[in-house]
């Protein structure tokens, strides 16, 4: 499926887990985004602040885990050690995460 993929982490074949983690990232990212809109007008709403912190932490952890297993989704998460694989992440038309 991902012929365009290179050596290195992109080869991690466990697609099901990868898709599951990716969809988790989408879900928590949406929750963070939507609560941000609410917090724009309710900056002191404690429940909303707790909600934001909860999902924002989950999101950061998931993004970090994704980076370790499959590679960075955003450049500010890239942590190359032996190889800079940012440019080798599969592109959407190569079956990369869509």
């Amino acid at each position: 499926m991902n012929q365009g993929m290179n050596q290195g982490r992109g080869q991690n074949v466990n697609q099901a887990k990868r898709r599951q983690l990716f969809s988790f990232i989408n879900r928590v990212s949406f929750a963070v985004n939507d609560i941000t809109l609410y917090l724009d007008t309710h900056p002191q709403d404690q429940d909303a602040i707790n909600y934001f912190n909860h999902y924002s932490d989950l999101r950061k952890k998931a993004l970090k885990e994704y980076e370790e297993l499959y590679g960075p989704l955003t450049i500010d998460l890239a942590r190359p050690d032996k190889m800079f694989d940012w440019a080798d992440m599969p592109l959407p038309w190569e079956g990369g995460m869509c």
């Binding site: 879900r27 928590v28 949406f30 929750a31 939507d34 609410y38 709403d45």
Partner: protein, 52 residues
């Protein structure tokens, strides 16, 4: 439009009740319907909602 025509007309009056953080959807459902707030979940059902 002639200025004198709308001299004493009220332009608009919005009714925007203050939203409170009460109940929210689980992230999975929120992503599907497009909001975490049930009170903002107003899907278009394809026809007028007039209840006769």
């Amino acid at each position: 439009m002639e200025q004198k025509d709308c001299e004493n007309q009220v332009v608009a009056m919005a009714y925007v009740p203050w939203q409170n953080f009460y109940k929210v959807y689980e992230p999975e459902k929120a992503l599907m319907v497009g909001t975490i707030f049930p009170e903002l979940n107003k899907p278009f059902l394809g026809r007028r909602m007039a209840k006769r």
